[in-house]
């Protein structure tokens, strides 16, 4: 990865709780400091143990003015006095000392919650390390990883890699680095498939979506993967129930503008829009039967059936078949 511009600033705020990105920001700061002064020392201290005295001690100039990097871990637990001391230190940092404040963005006390804003105002460099939640963000991350390792990756390969490795950024980063080394630079889908098989991340919602769309084969294969990686039966059953009731609810409410319907039905607009698409091909009788099936399934996965897996498969097949017919 290219060197972040923040790395050499004397006060840095690392905001967020994605462990990999936080670690990278810290090591970037350390590397930058070591380039300036190879004898730079690293001191890490949990912010909950920080007192005004220790802070003064940590950031005061030393006799031979060696470089120093001080990392305050989990600054969301900082005490009021220490938070105030940090705030006072920032505008006038000691030369040769880099203070890295690692903050999750949360915090219990008022002072701890307001610390990031205070630091920002005082001119600290901010590195955002929030958890990546959207698939697109994850794909962008993979692309950046590959580029950083000196390779290239095509779109199909990105999708395949995210699908089979999952959402953990450490694993994604490691897999991307390894693939660049193994494939000699250019990664295509075939290369990904050679080293990674299977699906790492199938939720009940994927199964439910395929089932109400009437795609029995895809729903069943998604269900097998979900069970294989240990998704709880109850979660799949709940996802199926939710999908069926959403379609039934939206279909029975008739056509209309998703935004106005959303407030009537108590669902977010995107869900209404999606359900309107899925509702095509469903009859009223079909929906009534499907509601019955999911209610039955809910009891079955909670102990009414001898085999919860079979109950899930059967319900998935029946729901998909209701849509097809």
């Amino acid at each position: 990865m290219s060197e972040p511009a923040n790395a050499a600033r004397p006060v840095q705020l690392v905001l967020g709780d994605e462990a990999l990105l936080v670690e990278r920001a810290i090591s970037a700061a350390l590397d930058a400091a070591r380039r300036a002064d190879p004898s730079t020392e690293l001191t890490r201290i949990p912010a909950s143990e920080l007192t005004v005295g220790t802070l003064t001690e940590l950031v005061s100039p030393t006799l031979f003015s060696e470089g120093r990097v001080v990392v305050l871990d989990s600054a969301q637990d900082v005490s009021n006095e220490a938070a105030e001391a940090i705030g006072n230190y920032v505008p006038d940092p000691v030369p040769g000392v880099v203070l890295v404040v690692v903050h999750s963005g949360g915090g219990r006390s008022k002072a701890a919650k307001e610390l990031p804003a205070t630091l920002r105002h005082a001119g600290a460099a901010v590195t955002e390390c929030a958890k990546l939640t959207k698939p697109a963000e994850r794909e962008a991350f993979v692309r950046a990883e590959v580029r950083g390792a000196g390779g290239a990756i095509d779109a199909g390969a990105v999708t395949a890699l995210v699908e089979s490795v999952g959402t953990d950024l450490r694993e994604l980063a490691a897999a991307a680095g390894q693939l660049v080394a193994d494939s000699g630079g250019h990664i295509d889908e075939q290369a990904v498939r050679r080293y990674h098989t299977g699906r790492a991340d199938v939720t009940g919602f994927v199964v439910a979506e395929k089932a109400v769309a009437g795609d029995g084969t895809a729903a069943l294969s998604a269900l097998r993967w979900a069970l294989h990686i240990g998704v709880a039966h109850v979660l799949v059953a709940d996802a199926l129930a939710d999908a069926v009731r959403t379609v039934a609810r939206v279909a029975s409410a008739g056509r209309g503008n998703p935004n106005t319907m959303a407030s009537q039905l108590g669902m977010p607009p995107w869900k209404v829009r999606k359900a309107q698409g899925q509702a095509r091909g469903w009859t009223r009788e079909g929906l009534t039967t499907a509601l019955e099936i999911v209610a039955e399934l809910n009891a079955e996965v909670k102990g009414a059936a001898a085999d919860g897996e079979y109950a899930l498969e059967r319900a998935t097949r029946r729901i998909a078949a209701l849509r097809e017919s």
Binding site: R245, S252, T288, K302
Partner: protein, 389 residues
Amino acid sequence: MSTQTVWSQLVGQEPAIETLSAATTRSEAMTHAWLFTGPPGSGRSVAARTFAAALQCSEGSGCGQCSGCTTALAGTHADVHPVVPEGLSISVAEMRSLVQTAARRPTTGRWQIVIISDADRLTEGASNALLKAIEEPPARTVFLLCAPSDHPEDVSVTIRSRCRLVALRTPPPSAIARVLVERDGVDTGDAEWAASVCGGHVGRARRLATDPAARERRAEVLRIPTNTRRLTDAFDCADVLIRAAEADADEESKARDDSEKEELRTAMGADGTGKGTAAAKRSADAAVKQLEKRQKMRATRTQRDTLDLALVDLAGFYRDVLVVAAGHGERELTLNHPDHAEHIRDAARRWEPEAALRRLEAVLACRDAIRWNVKPRIAVESMAAALVG
């Protein structure tokens, strides 16, 4: 409180009263364990409490005046130990400590009495813990168990065979109306109406006669069969049912949760200051956490009970439709909901008996589903969808 004997609390249960009062006066008619069964609302736990009072009576067999009678009825007698499950089941731990209590000699009264209401909620382990104690209790100990009679099999056979059975019947409406007038001071018209629609449930009759909110809720539930014509109505109905149940649970937890927590914290010395209070605070926090768990269980129970009540009303409606459809014109029919006779006749004309039966079955299936821990919303919506048409 009444001026007659304790037995006047039991509404319309003359045969049972005879058996029980004989047991209090003649030692050969007494035994060490009793199982009260009867339909919901027939007064099983009232019967058990009354029997306990009669046994503890210092004047004879339940005068209703002496301290033995009054304290046993009020639930404050030192030798009467009631077990009322607030959650969904009675645990082994609870039973084990109860068995120890039961082994003691009575302190002030004549008997050491243990009352287990809802014995059908004993878990398997809990009923096993009881077995030995119930089979050969100490000489002056009596066990009184209560269980709904529509499924007495819920009490394990090993327990059942060790008890003497007292079956309570559904009290006749006239008896219920009388007791509402005499004991609760309800006026005659309201009392008769409440007695006719309560399905033999004395407590429910009293609630309907005295609480306008309960009346409103019943009316709302009984509107469901006539109002569900399209699938979207079904979701609205389900919403009404679920929301009512949640509101009930909410109301109860609002009324009790915080004050209970506060009391517990005070009792455990949580808010002390100064040296040495940290340990007290820690243990208080742990106790509060346990209490919160119990409160959550109680909320679940309330929610399900309210929902079940509504479902029973609903099932009663479809039962009435079937009865009317099968009835022979002129004969006077006993309906569950005589005040909705108009709607019921109308529905009986519109639906085939098969359709009404299918709906009744959907309601009953929903009750079963909730007993199987199905999420209430899922179960109720599936039922409501089946009621459409």
